[in-house]
Symmetry: C2
Subunit: 217 residues, 2 copies
């Protein structure tokens, strides 16, 4: 009936977890900044596949850090991704997360036009020029719509974190995103998700804060 | 510059996704109710591993459905899992989701005792007897603590959805849970997560609602 023995401090758990990841993935395949992202995604999922699936367009991480250091708005396609974003880091950066998927206007637009609410809310988001980072972890339809809006000149974000998940359109939506010159971070293939989206945002925020501290220190 | 061609209705996407999953996993290995859970978790993650990792203790699903049909409280260890739970289904069942991980009291207790906030909030949750379902998708420490509370007679839930993720304690916490007689649904090994936790809750809620409709119709 005695107490079970297990690591009980969050710092201890994360440190040990990162050590195990380093033992299993060759970090030489990544820049130090990329590695911070890859490591956190594997930490979040316990899925080593992501070392092969995560792809960064040139300058994508730097574009994200710069936008975050200016206190941008970060759009998420789901409440889950929004919930997974570290609120303390967000506040320290002066950034804001925004999700409109359950906005009544989005629901109405979706119903009227026979599209997903995720698509409708991306269309609404395009009206906010201070949204510099789009985080799409769930719906391929939202990513396809964002790509359309960019091609039509109606959106021009600094960074797209495009990691929709699933068997219907997810891989294709990310393939399409990878053709754009807009800085992007994707997971190739079918895997992705709101948890991965949030993990990427958090990894970028922690780097942004570290850089900011060094600059200001 | 023309519009991209892709499936744009949520119903169409889910239907096609479920068909693809059925083509890739032998559903004969599961009871129809188990299959509803397995299928939704794979739909959420695009990770077929979960067909091998998900384990149901005898009567676990039925215990969950029964608690949900009585309008129980559902405890989640993270805001992400809470955010991923379908709010419409929750309301229709008269259930409530509860997460206390960011409660100031939990933070204070965690600091004072040198434990995780997840552990502290599970200890607080044990004071609510109407919490019949514990959903732990993130912290092994929360699951270890819940197991301790059950062994000490301080908690007695109808169902534990125990799917913590990670390299430090996750597999061990679920192994320990599988020794209890309390009904449980787990993912064996290191994989799991808040998204998987929410997917399991949603699959159970949809079945609960379907059964309720049949009974009342």
């Amino acid at each position: 009936m005695g107490n079970l023995s297990y690591v009980k401090t969050p710092e201890g758990i994360e440190k040990k977890s990162f050590e195990i990841i380093e033992e299993n993935v060759d970090k030489a395949n990544f820049s130090p900044k990329e590695w911070n992202v890859v490591r956190r995604v594997i930490h979040t999922t316990a899925d080593f596949d992501f070392a092969n699936l995560l792809k960064f367009s040139p300058g994508a991480i730097e574009a994200g850090l710069s936008a975050m250091q200016k206190g941008c708005r970060i759009y998420t396609d789901t409440r889950m991704a929004e919930a997974g974003i570290n609120k303390k880091a967000l506040k320290e950066l002066g950034c804001k997360a925004l999700c409109m998927v359950d906005d009544p206007q989005a629901a109405e637009m979706a119903k009227r036009e026979g599209i997903t609410r995720s698509m409708a809310s991306v269309m609404m988001a395009a009206a906010f020029p201070d949204i510099k980072i789009y985080v799409l972890g769930n719906a391929p339809t939202a990513l396809f719509k964002l790509i359309e809006l960019i091609r039509e000149g109606k959106a021009n974000p600094d960074l797209i974190i495009g990691v929709p998940v699933g068997f219907v359109g997810a891989a294709e939506s990310k393939e399409e995103l990878s053709k754009l010159s807009v800085p992007h971070i994707i997971t190739k293939g079918q895997k992705g998700g709101s948890n991965i989206a949030a993990a990427i945002v958090n990894a970028l925020m922690y780097m942004s804060l570290e850089e900011k501290t060094i600059k200001n220190g």
